[in-house]
Symmetry: C2
Subunit: 147 residues, 2 copies
């Protein structure tokens, strides 16, 4: 059981942009700081833009910034947005090839477990991840302290 | 976020054997009833044997049976046994390439969510999946009622 790399990278982007605050960032800079693929990040940032997490400010002093304050970015909602397929098992989808789907009780138990998983994430925001560790995280990522 | 096919098939095997009770089963028969790969099932059954869920009774009236009563097969323990990799994100492992691992608070939040997921499964056994649906499940899978 894994979260996708897409979710992993989305979280890294949001942490980075959250630490930078009003300062603009580039995909290149995030890719370098985390030593991850620029191509992957481009897709991630594009989708984070579409889903209302990130904005690309145009112009000379342009670059990426968060579209909302970190306290308004809920981790449960984010994971629901970035995990494109939350079908824990085949029968979660519209079409199941498992013959016992109609009678099987496992689906409801796994759904209950998934809801419990998400309910924990729903209790946290990006701000909860940043505020207690702002200094350490900024230092590791070479981000100058916010003005 | 998915459970592995290994977990999915393990659950199907245990449901099947649980419905059959003392009657012996073959891998061939389970593969046919669920219309899934016999080769995959062989690996699944082998590992379920090693982990104390299934026994192969030898001899003329041999075949597969559960090693424990369904009420003693806990779903949380089973999923811990069959999901070979519960590292939700990279930093759950011993070696993380993510630069912020040492300072990042996400790992503890995701771990809390994973524990909540497993805690739900811990509340159910295989018997809870079988008893209310024994007749329907047996009918779908062509299993004769238990004596």
């Amino acid at each position: 059981m894994h979260l996708t790399r897409f979710t992993d990278y989305s979280l890294r982007v949001l942490i980075y942009l959250g630490l930078k605050g009003e300062q603009r960032s580039t995909i290149q800079e995030i890719a370098e700081q985390f030593d991850i693929s620029r191509n992957h990040l481009m897709k991630v940032v594009h989708e984070l833009g579409q889903k209302g997490y990130v904005t690309a400010v145009r112009g000379k002093h342009g670059g990426l910034v968060l579209q909302r304050p970190p306290a308004e970015i809920n981790l449960g909602m984010l994971v629901r947005d970035t995990e494109h397929d939350m079908r824990l098992v085949e029968c979660f989808g519209d079409h199941s090839d498992c013959r016992i789907t109609q009678a099987c009780l496992l689906k409801s138990v796994f759904n209950e477990a998934l809801q419990a998983f998400l309910a924990v994430l729903d209790r946290y925001t990006l701000a909860d991840m940043l505020d207690p560790r702002r200094q350490q995280l900024s230092q590791i990522l070479g981000i100058a302290p916010m003005a």
